[in-house]
Structures are given as C-alpha cells and as structure tokens.
C-alpha cells in the first residue's frame, strides 16, 4: 500500500482525501462434477483452522406442504435405525462440530461447521444421520409440540403478523402463499415427512459448497459420500404475480407499535434493471444515511429503524420496506414514505448524494468479497441464478454509469404508491 503523506498540521475542517476503489478481484471456487450430476464447489487457502460444508437440497417450504417441509428439516439429524438423536448429538459434540438447517422457499441448506481436521469425521456422522433419518415418532411428537408453542409466541409479535400477511398477499394464488397455521400442527404426518425426505433430500441434492484447507484425499472421501444422494432436481416454472395492491391493517389490541411492510413484485439479478435499481433502493432506504432513515428516524423520530430491500429467489424478486413505528405515528409514516417516492419521481438526485451512494456501494461490495467465506457466498448468490462472477464486474460498471435521469425513470416505473401492498399490524 502506498503511503499517504499527512499534512504537518491537522485542520479538522478538511476531510481526508478519498480514494476510489478501482478493482475488486472475484475468485471462483474449484468446481467438481459429482457422479450424481450435482456440483461440488471447493474453496481453500484459508490460513486458519476453520472449515464448513454446506449441502443445498431442493427441499424448501414451497416444494411441498410447508409444515411437512419444516418438520422434515427440523428432524433431519434426530435419529436413525442405529442411533438416537442424543447419541448423534454426542458424537458430533465429541468432534466439536456444529450444524444448522435453514429453510427458504425453494431450498433447504444444511451446514456443518468444524475445525478442518475434524470436518470429514463430523460429516461421516452427519451424513449417516441425514441419509438414514427415520423420523422417530417420539421425536416428531416433541418437535410438533415445541414448534406449536413457539408459534403461539410468534403470533403475539406485530412484526410476525405483518410479515405473514404481506407474504400471503404478495404471493396470492401461488405455492409461495401457503403458510403454516396453528391448527396444522395437530395434523403432522410422519409418512408424508418420510416421503418428503425420500424425494427432496435423498433424491434432491442440488449442490455442495465446501470451504477449508482439507487434503485431496479428504476431498475424494467427501465426493464418495455425496454421491449416494441423487440429484433429480427440476426448476420450477416461472410463476405469475397476482397481488392486489392496497392497504390492510391488522388490529392488535394494546400494541404500542405497528409493524409495517410495504412492497411490490420486482425482479432478481437476472433483470437488466437490477443494478440501477439497487442504487435507487440504497438511496431510498438501504443504508444508514438513506432518505427513509434520514426522514422518518433522524428527522421525525417515529421509529428505531426503517429499511427497504430487494429480496431474491431463483425465480423472482420483490421489493419491501419494513419498519416498526409508534401506533400513533403510523399514518404519518405512510405519508412520509409516499412523499419520498414522489421526491424520487419528480426531483433528480443530486450529484453529491449519487456519488456518496456509489462510493458506499463499492465499499460494501469490497467488504462482501473480503475473505474466503464471504467470497464463496458472493459466488453462491450468482451461481444459483445461472450467472457467474462476471455479474459483479457488470454490477460495478453499471453502478459507475448510472445517472440521476435513469434513477428518476426507475422511480417512476417501480415506486408508485398505488401499486404497493401496504400491510400494517398492531
């Protein structure tokens, strides 16, 4: 790094000179084609002892009945014909391993963390449990009970109520609108869970990400183990949006705050407007200095936080604003959000604000690419959409190129208040 010369006397009124980010190197992992057709992506060169393996299965909440998918994921490592849940957990404890299972709409990601010398050993235990899961009735009964108790607590949270209603309305008429109801828990069906496991896990391996400085031999052993899964996954057909815009309020007696979700269908990274819209979204609500934060938190004090986001899935993307505001300032908040949409539609963003947001986004991208774990996540985010790392070079070029006119046109096209779903609870 070249050294910047500091002036001898500090003038605190003058900001240090900024230097732009000229280049970010994006590194692809090594790719192995498993015999079953799934791909294994491997990243090494960590310079530390950590490692993890991440299995992606076509077993998300929308790939079947959402309760079945959720319970199946919850019971994956909870007993085989040979071992009880407790025995499995003890075996994983003995090698210091951790795991988590996370369910999204299309995919379930099962991640195992361990020190690199223990990873294969941990995975062997894990693999046997996942592959040979028997879903013991007793474990199922316990999980159903625990989940329904947690569900009752969730139902008292305004954020949970607003989010659920928002999702249901946004995805109206599609599989994504299906949600677990409290009364569903009593109909949990072990046979359906077993069938789901068979179809979506044993036959549904989509890809595997491995990170850590393991040996080539270890890598071969992983491949042998992973090959016992089949990979008969098919992509879902694109679906049609049919949400009805408009406002709905869910009253909750005694609430001090209302949770708010405002949004609309949008697109994911595969759409030509994605990069430019990312800039617009950041200006509106996706960083601490955003217009929504400056207005609704830092000027009015209506909320602890407010943000806008682009949420992506393999098939689609949507736009959403989320916040929790005092019950008595809910309507005022709506008016201010609407004003911010209109400002973006009618006034050009100033050069200063645009430059700031561009630099901010570049810095955040540099951070997102920092280190093997972060880089592998960046890769996974585009790979899943059928894109490659060249997307980020394009993203940088488009961010640099976008101007105020383009942003105004995007605001006019995508940020119309009367096209928004407006949900509040509390």
């Amino acid at each position: 790094m070249t050294q910047q010369t500091l002036p001898t006397v500090l003038d605190r009124n003058i900001a240090p000179q900024l230097r732009p980010i000229n280049h970010i190197a994006f590194l692809a992992p090594a790719i192995y084609n498993l015999k079953n057709g799934a791909k294994l992506f491997w990243r090494n060169g960590l310079q530390n002892e950590t490692s993890k393996i991440e299995l992606h299965f076509a077993a998300g909440s929308a790939t079947g009945d959402p309760l079945t998918a959720s319970l199946c994921a919850g019971l994956l490592i909870n007993g085989t014909a040979q071992k009880t849940a407790k025995q499995i957990q003890k075996a994983l404890d003995a090698v210091g391993a951790y795991y988590d299972v996370s369910l999204s709409q299309e995919t379930t990601v099962v991640t195992l963390y361990a020190l690199k010398d223990q990873l294969l050993k941990a995975y062997q235990i894990f693999h046997e449990s996942l592959f040979g899961a028997t879903f013991p009735p007793k474990e199922l009964q316990e999980l159903v009970h625990e989940r329904s108790q947690k569900f009752k607590i969730q139902q008292q949270k305004v954020s949970f109520l607003a989010q659920r209603f928002f999702q249901r309305s946004l995805f109206a008429g599609s599989v994504y609108a299906q949600q677990i109801q409290l009364e569903d828990f009593q109909n949990a069906d072990r046979t359906a869970i077993q069938a789901f496991h068979e179809q979506h896990y044993l036959k549904g391996l989509k890809k595997v990400f491995l990170i850590g400085d393991v040996s080539e031999d270890t890598l071969d052993s992983f491949q042998d183990l992973l090959n016992v899964f089949e990979s008969n996954t098919k992509e879902r057909k694109p679906f049609e949006w049919k949400p009805e815009a408009g406002a709905t309020h869910i009253e909750q007696e005694g609430a001090l705050q209302s949770a708010v979700r405002i949004g609309r269908p949008l697109f994911n990274k595969t759409h030509p407007d994605f990069c430019a819209f990312s800039v617009l979204n950041t200006i509106l609500g996706d960083y601490f200095g955003s217009r929504l934060m400056s207005n609704i938190r830092e000027d009015k004090g209506y909320t602890y936080g407010i943000g806008s986001h682009i949420v992506e899935n393999n098939n689609f993307g949507y736009f959403v604003i989320g916040t929790e505001v005092g019950v008595q300032t809910r309507t005022a908040t709506f008016i201010e959000i609407q004003k911010e949409f209109e400002r973006l539609q009618t006034e050009l963003v100033t050069d200063a604000e645009l430059e700031l947001v561009k630099s901010y986004l570049m810095g955040q991208l540099l951070k997102s690419a920092d280190g093997p774990y972060a880089m592998l996540d960046l890769f996974a985010n585009v790979e899943t959409l059928g894109l490659d790392l060249s997307f980020y070079d394009r993203y940088i070029a488009e961010i640099k190129a976008v101007d105020a006119q383009k942003l105004q046109a995007l605001a006019q096209r995508y940020l119309n208040w009367d096209q928004m779903l407006i949900i509040s609870a509390g």
Binding site: R12, G96, L115, E146, Y287, F288, G301, Y304, S359
Partner: protein, 413 residues
C-alpha cells in the same frame, strides 16, 4: 493466537494494532470505558442515549455518517451495562476518514437541541420495540432489580423506565460527555494491512492533540453475597408461563467465569444437556429450557430459563429443578465430557476469530479489562479446568439462597 502491537499517546489514549495482511478492509474500533453501570440511578439509560447522540455531529463535522459512507464504509455502536463500543469498517485506503471522524467526536460533540429531541424519541421507540411490545420483552427489566439490590446492574442498558430518557436535558448530556469521553477513558484498535509506523503516525496526527483528562476511578457499590432466596411473580398477557432462575456468579476475569461458561453449556445444551433431557423430555414440564451466563465485568448471573408446557405449572417445574440441581452437584463430570465441552468452545472461538470486527472488539475489550494479551490466554484458562473444579463450583453456584427467581405467569383469558 492473535498478534498485536500496543502504544499509548501522551494524552492517555491506549492504541492496539492488529495486522491482517489478507484483507482490503480496515476496522477502527473505539471502546469507551463507560456503560449503564456508570449512570446516576436517577438518570438511567444515559450511556445508551448518549451513544445515539454520538452520531449527531461533532465540533468540526456536522454529520458523522456521510463522510464515512462516501469513503465506502459504515459504522455502528452498542452500549452494554459495562462499555460503549463504536466501530467503523471501511476500505483500508480510506482509513484516515475513520480516524478523522472518531477523533473529532472524541474531541467534542456539537449536537443540537433538535438532535437530542429526535434521539430521545428514537430511543423511546427502541424501548417499545425491544422491551415493551414483545412477549416476555420486559423480563430483564424485572429480573435485574430482583437479582441486584446494590450494584448498578440493577437497571438495564435501555434504562429503568422511559421517563428517565424523556427527561434528559442538554446539560445532563454535556456533563456525561465531559466526564466519560476523553482519551484516557478509551481504547482504540485498528485492524488491517498496515505498517505499525504508519498507524503510529496517523493516530498521533488525529488523536494526539485531544487534551488529556484525569480518569476518575470508578467506585461502584458491589453486590453483596445474597443471603436469602428471592422470588417475584408477574402476570402478563403471554402464551405460556416462563421462569428465570438467576444465580450469583463472579466477575469476567475470575475463574468463576470460565467454570460457569462450561457449566452452562453442560447443563443447558439442547438434546444432550441435563435440563433438556430431564425436564423437557423425561418429565415433559417445559417446551424449552436453557442456561447461560451474562459474563459481565463485575459479578454476573448464571441464568436458567425456559417456558412451561400447557397444563403444567411453574410450581411443578420448581419442585423438579431443585432436586435435579442437587443430584448434579453430587456427581462429577466425566473427563471425556469435559474435553468435548472444551473442544466445542474452541471450535466456536476459531469461527468467531475469523471476523476482523470480532477480533478488533475482543482485543479492545481485554485491553479495557487491563491487558489485550488476555485474549490469548482464554483457551489455556478453559483447558486448565479439571472435573473436580467444576463439581466444586457447581456446589457453590447452585445455592438456593443465592438465587433470584422471576416467574412470568400467563394472564388467564
């Protein structure tokens, strides 16, 4: 092993530098030795409110965030009962921007009556969002004054009640700054691919002229050893009864901390822990149960908490828990079980140490505790623990006379 360099400016600012050649980013972490425990009992929530005001502009810079964002960086902060920690993460080549911003707000704040008014309101909304508008959200607001009667840990970081925040004046806030925000009361840690000489020069350049101020020795009333069991029952509109058994434990640097950390994992783990296997699975009294420690700098709490199953009662749980703890005290943990616990902790630590920010925060925290090098002794402190130590400690810890119990009872419809 986390390597670091250390130097102190003439004005008393302690500085740590941790070189990480593999990153294009830099972390600037600045911890101030002030937390909610340093507040006046009649003006609680100030350390945290103050943290919000630190983003409201400083003497030469009207807006803290914009210059940092323009440099490609971002910033945040948190306040605990012990400390207030600010951090900036930005591209390494713009390190100066973070040092310029942090040094200016250490020098002097310039917030306006408007920013105080707005941040008071923001904090009140935070109070509602986190503590009042959530089921069980106020549990710690209730538990703290039950478990602590003398020590200022008896109030939460957010404050005893909203009124203390609503009543904060410009003068109060200015006085708080003058007392706690000065170089001798802070630790600065920089992480990134830099050279030490460069860091020394830059830190001297930006922070060197901030006037020194005498650090006032902290004199907090320490919590006496509890003599008798305490219990409080509150009724709330919640879906299930819940309980918080809080046992008195030692300070962050005491042996207690390491013993309690292992014990809480041992009895509290899901699937294999004693609480889960006996009370959740075997006796079916609870739908969830766990154990954890607060890990505070002064005497902390070891907490057993969970939720009661429908048709079971808080009393049934209580009747089952005490004999279970007695049984646990009577039995020594096996050596392999202890080794597993330690291996799991070390694995978790290896993952935690991956993050630049986490390294910067931990180094700063240990320096504030007396010596950043303590960070590299943590592992050995865990490894040196013997099974007999754990048993002896469990016998001392699980003493009903040193327990405060908060029960939240579901309101009948």
């Amino acid at each position: 092993m986390i390597h670091f360099e250390r130097f102190t400016l003439d004005n008393g600012l302690r500085v740590l530098f941790h070189k990480e050649p593999a990153t294009p980013m830099a972390v600037v972490n600045l911890v101030y030795d002030v937390g909610a425990r340093d507040e006046n009992p009649a003006q609680t929530g100030f350390a945290h409110l103050f943290e919000h005001l630190m983003f409201g502009g400083s003497v030469h810079i009207p807006d803290f965030d914009a210059p940092l964002q323009a440099a490609g960086g971002q910033s945040n902060a948190f306040t605990s009962n012990d400390i207030t920690n600010y951090y900036d993460v930005l591209p390494a080549h713009n390190l100066d921007t973070a040092l310029w911003l942090e040094s200016d707000r250490m020098l002097s704040l310039a917030f306006t009556p408007k920013s105080l008014e707005v941040q008071r309101q923001v904090v009140i909304e935070e109070f509602k969002q986190r503590y009042l508008n959530q089921p069980y959200g106020d549990a710690w607001l209730q538990l703290r004054p039950l478990a602590y009667q003398k020590h200022p840990y008896r109030w939460a970081t957010i404050g005893k009640n909203i009124k203390h925040i609503a009543d904060a004046t410009m003068d109060d806030v200015r006085a708080f700054f003058q007392k706690h925000y000065h170089p001798g009361n802070a630790v600065l840690c920089i992480v990134g691919n830099f050279e030490l000489a460069d860091i020394q020069q830059k830190v001297q350049h930006y922070f060197g002229d901030i006037p020194a101020q005498t650090k006032i020795a902290r004199q907090l009333p320490q919590e006496p050893t509890q003599k008798r069991f305490r219990q409080k029952v509150i009724v709330r509109k919640v879906p299930a009864d819940s309980f918080y058994y809080a046992f008195q434990m030692g300070k962050r640097l005491d042996n207690d901390y390491y013993l309690a950390d292992l014990l809480s994992d041992h009895i509290g783990n899901e699937k294999t822990g004693l609480l889960f296997t006996e009370l959740q699975r075997k006796k079916r009294l609870v739908s969830e149960i766990t154990a954890y420690i607060t890990g505070s700098i002064d005497n902390g709490l070891f907490v057993i908490t969970g939720k009661i199953n429908p048709n079971r009662t808080l009393m049934e749980l209580d009747d089952a828990l005490w004999p279970l703890l007695e049984k646990y005290k009577a039995k020594k943990m096996s050596k392999p079980a202890l080794q597993q616990l330690i291996l799991k902790l070390q694995t978790a630590k290896a993952f935690q140490d991956q993050g630049l920010l986490s390294r910067a925060m931990n180094l700063s925290f240990f320096e504030l505790l007396g010596d950043a090098a303590l960070i590299n002794q943590e592992s050995a402190r865990f490894s040196s623990i013997q099974t007999t130590d754990l048993q002896t400690y469990a016998q001392q810890l699980f003493d009903k006379n040193r327990c405060a119990l908060l029960q939240i009872q579901a309101q009948l419809p």
